[in-house]
């Protein structure tokens, strides 16, 4: 069975690598001093689905690396650091994939502090996410099992219409 690629995107230090390590503790992280340089990768068995989880570098200068890694993605997890505004680099990436009907969900990471509002707002150029999950990835509670279930749904359905949903 061919694995479905799920992209984990978001701004630098949003918690993308932390999420992937939380899902698969022995995930590969190509990083330097805590910053992902090339990619994260992990294979995940999820309710009968085989997922290839690919984390992209968040720093602006790695745009070309993000574009390459995004090819063939079936779903996107947009990790957003609570308290920050919606990041334009990730917006462009998600928009390009959404144009090809690739759905996305948003995981708001409250890094040790719950911020209200959390700062993620759907850009006009994007359809609605299939779900918004909020948690602190240092202590995710049941958020990871919700995420696993939603990932299975994410890769199995088309993107929602713009302007609908959360």
């Amino acid at each position: 069975m061919r694995a479905a690629k799920v992209l984990v995107a978001g701004a630098g230090e949003a918690g993308k690598s932390t999420l992937i390590q939380a899902l698969v503790p022995d995930a590969m992280n190509l990083a330097l001093r805590g910053r992902t340089i090339a990619m994260d990768h992990a294979m995940l068995q999820c309710n009968g689905c085989r997922l290839s989880i690919v984390g992209v570098p968040g720093q602006q200068r790695f745009g070309a690396v993000r574009e390459i890694l995004a090819e063939g993605a079936r779903g996107i997890i947009w990790v957003h650091r609570s308290g920050y505004s919606t990041d334009p680099e990730t917006t462009f990436l998600v928009r390009d994939l959404s144009n090809n009907d690739v759905p996305y969900l948003v995981l708001v990471n409250h890094v040790g502090l719950v911020c209200r509002p959390h700062g993620w707002a759907r850009p006009e150029s994007l359809p609605a996410p299939t779900m918004i999950i909020e948690c602190d990835l240092e202590a995710p509670g049941d958020a990871l099992s919700i995420l696993r279930d939603e990932m299975q749904v994410l890769i199995g359905r088309p993107a929602p219409l713009a302007g609908k949903g959360p």
Binding site: M28, L30, L32, R33, R35, I37, A38, M39, P57, Q59, R61, F62, G63, A64, V65
Partner: protein
């Protein structure tokens, strides 16, 4: 007394000038920031530097996974020539682009010398 940046630029200029078919060179930090470059006009050096760091990082891990030891070089060949990456000490990478007719042995030898000079500077 020239600054470290000026010295590094000079090392790259000498490398490109003295090695036949070498079309450009750059030094890049391991986290993908350009340190110095002598690249052809029109090259987006920030973009190229980030990609070089990503390539090196992937190369290192691939070499580890396949038990090939510490990474020495990453070599990419296209229709129009070569891109070669070589570590320049623990903090930087030397990247060169060469035409299709380049003598690789000569290029690698000159790169090694330049990488040693860059390492001393850093």
């Amino acid at each position: 007394m020239p600054t470290a940046f000026e010295q590094m630029n000079q090392i790259l200029k000498t490398l490109v000038a003295n090695t036949p078919d070498l079309e450009g060179a750059a030094t890049v930090s391991l986290d993908g920031l350009v340190l110095a470059s002598v690249l052809p006009a029109g090259t987006d050096e920030d973009r190229v530097s980030a990609m070089a760091a990503a390539l090196l990082s992937l190369g290192e891990r691939t070499a580890q996974e396949l038990q090939r030891g510490a990474l020495e070089q990453v070599y990419v060949r296209g229709d129009n020539g070569y891109i070669i990456l070589m570590a320049a000490g623990p903090e930087a990478v030397l990247e060169v682009i060469a035409g299709g007719g380049a003598k690789l042995g000569m290029v690698l030898l000159d790169m090694k010398r330049a990488a040693q000079e860059v390492t001393r500077l850093l």
